[in-house]
């Protein structure tokens, strides 16, 4: 034995970075994580209610798929979440942490509601919808563009900036509702209830049909844009390394602003779809926290628009399902947030095992 052994101690585990893992084992790890999370959720529900967890999961499934109406609601919620996730994705691929989707969606919804509120029935429906769409896109662009301008010019921290913009947007919505509703009830109510002027028309005989269709097309377009266009390539380079991008002649400032403007426009579109295609009114809850959930959806899908279809479905399924459980077993509906949280923790945690390899300390004999 050498004396140096005392001072040099090898730790029990040693972590190294993995080369890219093949698709199948990576999927397997994620699947295991979700299963593990579901088991833990089942245990919690069993502990709280004493009910058979399998019955609980059956109820969960029924939350999304037990009737045509529920299926369409499921599709609508998925489409909206997916649309907001698509909005944040281009910025995320550039490592621009846009946490302001909630606010961008809200101002989009607010702008289209404002147009509908002041125009009412005096324009034909197609013109009204067009103006609503344009103003929603513009509002979303402004709300995302301001942080982007400061980020590009002064390096202002975009995470904190966009986060604060959410709350400005929320207050802006409550302000306008207070202006529009003189009674002080704070509820705007459905606009153009009678004439349905400015409401998106039904497609496939479904009021949410058009929303789902638009988001579906948008997903494919976004995938192609990010994967195969010159813009998409520039976004990836800026995200990997701003210095490299500058070196190969990419206009970094321009790319940042252009990409975030796109991001804001899509978020504005989501606000428009929520307002004109579903709610027909505006509240501070219009985005309903989806601006934050979309961050998770996009990240879980590794910023790939096609994979996002799956991740947004998963999240909406969980939300709907746990809502149904709460209703069926008379639990507080907040159980759904707890379950979503637990499942997210597991999915977030399991990424480690995909990216890194854990090497245990080898026995001393092998060392020689």
């Amino acid at each position: 034995m050498q004396k140096t052994d005392k001072t040099v101690r090898e730790p029990l585990v040693h972590i190294t970075k993995r080369p890219d893992m093949p698709l199948f084992p990576a999927l397997l790890i994620r699947l295991c994580a979700i299963l593990l999370a579901l088991i833990i959720c089942a245990l919690i529900i069993f502990w709280l209610t004493g009910l058979n967890p399998l019955a609980v999961y059956k109820a969960m499934f029924e939350g999304s798929f037990s009737s045509t109406r529920k299926i369409w609601n499921f599709l609508q919620n998925t489409a909206m979440l997916l649309c907001i996730a698509l909005a944040v994705t281009p910025a995320f691929r550039m490592r621009f942490w846009n946490l302001g989707a909630e606010g961008q969606v809200l101002v989009g919804g607010l702008a289209s509601a404002a147009v509908m509120f002041y125009v009412r029935d005096s324009w034909p429906s197609w013109l009204l919808i067009l103006v609503m769409l344009i103003s929603a896109l513009a509002a979303g662009i402004v709300w995302a563009g301001v942080p982007a301008l400061f980020k590009a010019n002064f390096g202002t921290n975009e995470t904190l900036f966009t986060l604060m913009m959410n709350y400005v947007a929320i207050q802006l919505v409550t302000f306008f509702i207070a202006v529009w509703v003189p009674t002080g009830s704070g509820v705007l109510g459905v606009l153009n209830q009678q004439s349905q002027n400015g409401w998106l028309p039904a497609v496939f005989n479904q009021r949410y049909g058009l929303n789902v269709l638009i988001v579906g097309i948008l997903t494919v377009v976004m995938f192609i844009y990010l994967r195969y266009s010159k813009h998409g390539y520039e976004i990836s380079v800026v995200g990997e390394s701003e210095n490299t991008a500058r070196y190969i002649g990419v206009n970094v400032k321009g790319v940042i602003i252009r990409t975030v403007v796109l991001s804001g426009a899509v978020a504005g579109l989501a606000g428009f779809l929520l307002m004109a295609g579903a709610a027909h009114t505006v509240t501070a809850e219009l985005a309903g926290g989806n601006g934050f959930t979309a961050v998770l959806v996009s990240w879980l899908a590794k910023f790939n628009p096609l994979t996002m279809i799956l991740t947004s479905m998963l999240i909406v399924f969980l939300q709907k399902g746990s809502g149904e459980i709460a209703q069926a077993f008379r639990l507080s509906s907040n159980i759904s947030e707890i379950m979503t949280g637990i499942i997210l923790f597991f999915i977030i945690g399991c990424e480690f095992f995909i990216r890194y390899r854990i090497n245990f300390r080898k026995k001393a004999e092998e060392e020689k």
């Binding site: 002064f154 921290n157 709350y167 207050q171 302000f175 959930t293 907040n334 979503t340 977030i348």
Partner: protein
């Protein structure tokens, strides 16, 4: 006139204390390079854990003593928020997960836990109605007995529960810790450049864990103050509102200085409620006033980045995970 002013300041401080706890906790966390967006969730859990502890004690004890009435909710609140902070630090430090994503998930989870337990705690014990912990909160609300005799001065300085003074003391201690001690210097080094700190022999992982844990526990006390002192031992779902995000805003406003956070919290607390004190405002104008804390924060954020003074910047590696073997 003087009395009105005193009550405005009093209300601002009362509003500001939960924000101060949250901001101090977040500053300590951010100094280790971790942007913990789970703070709003942690504060919810800190509040509800205190409620659960206090409720169990009131429920099962026939003769509650002052010491235990304060200690049990305090300890359970610290445990609850500490556990939350551990989830965050395990995921972001050990498993190197993305901090923004983890933080947002933690906030979803924490708000859910708070509202779920708050809504169904009484059902578990076969009671109905809403939670109201009068015995326990009495001790949390107790202020100096001579406060009333001193008029406005007493109202401004001596009429708060002990947690309010604790908040200020913790903020001052944290300020001193970061500025004057060796450990504070090490912590700041970890947040600025973990690789350099590592090379200098600082245990980066330990500092990150401790900073997140202690920061989370301090933030959780903000939730405890809110439910025990401000609302007097009651729980309303989502009653805590967006104060957690406001606390994160204060961190920016105070330029990552805990002592500055004391004044910032009181100012933000004042902005939060000032609409009530200005007579003749319409409900629309009141909503505009509630916007001011966020707008002010944005302006500060922009100005500091434009002036680009090195001592006013966020920790350089804020939001980045550290992996020793990565170049």
């Amino acid at each position: 006139m003087f009395d009105t002013l005193a009550s405005i300041i009093f209300s601002s401080v009362v509003q500001g204390i939960p924000l101060l706890f949250g901001a101090t906790g977040e500053i300590i966390t951010e100094k280790s390079g971790h942007l913990n967006l789970g703070i709003p969730g942690i504060m919810y859990v800190g509040g509800i854990s205190g409620i659960v502890g206090g409720y169990l004690y009131e429920h099962f004890s026939t003769n509650p003593t002052a010491f235990l009435c304060i200690a049990i909710p305090l300890v359970s609140s610290l445990l609850g928020s500490g556990l939350m902070a551990l989830i965050y630090s395990f995921l972001t430090v050990t498993l190197r997960a993305n901090q923004n994503v983890t933080g947002l998930a933690l906030t979803t989870f924490g708000t859910g836990v708070g509202n779920f337990l708050g809504g169904s705690l009484l059902n578990f014990f076969g009671e109905s109605g809403s939670i109201s912990l009068l015995t326990v909160s009495k001790y949390y609300k107790a202020s100096f007995p001579f406060a009333e005799k001193l008029g406005p001065i007493g109202k401004i300085f001596f009429s708060y529960g002990f947690l309010a003074y604790l908040a200020v003391i913790i903020a001052l201690l944290a300020h001193r810790f970061l500025k004057k001690t060796r450990a504070g210097l090490n912590l700041r080094a970890v947040g600025e450049n973990p690789a350099t700190a590592d090379a200098a022999g600082i245990n980066v992982t330990r500092y990150k864990y401790l900073a997140t844990l202690i920061g989370g526990m301090i933030a959780g006390l903000g939730g405890l103050y809110f439910v025990m002192d401000y609302t007097g031992g009651t729980w309303t779902n989502n009653g805590f509102g967006d104060r957690g995000w406001l606390a994160i805003a204060i961190v920016i406003f105070a330029l990552w200085r805990p002592a500055g956070a004391i004044f910032a919290s009181i100012i933000f607390g004042g902005l939060y409620i000032c609409a009530i004190f200005i007579p003749g405002l319409s409900s629309a104008q009141k909503e505009l006033f509630k916007m001011t804390p966020y707008v002010v924060t944005i302006i500060v954020l922009v100005l500091t980045s434009i002036r680009n003074r090195r001592e006013n910047q966020p920790p350089a590696s804020l939001g980045l995970s550290y992996f020793r073997e990565e170049r």
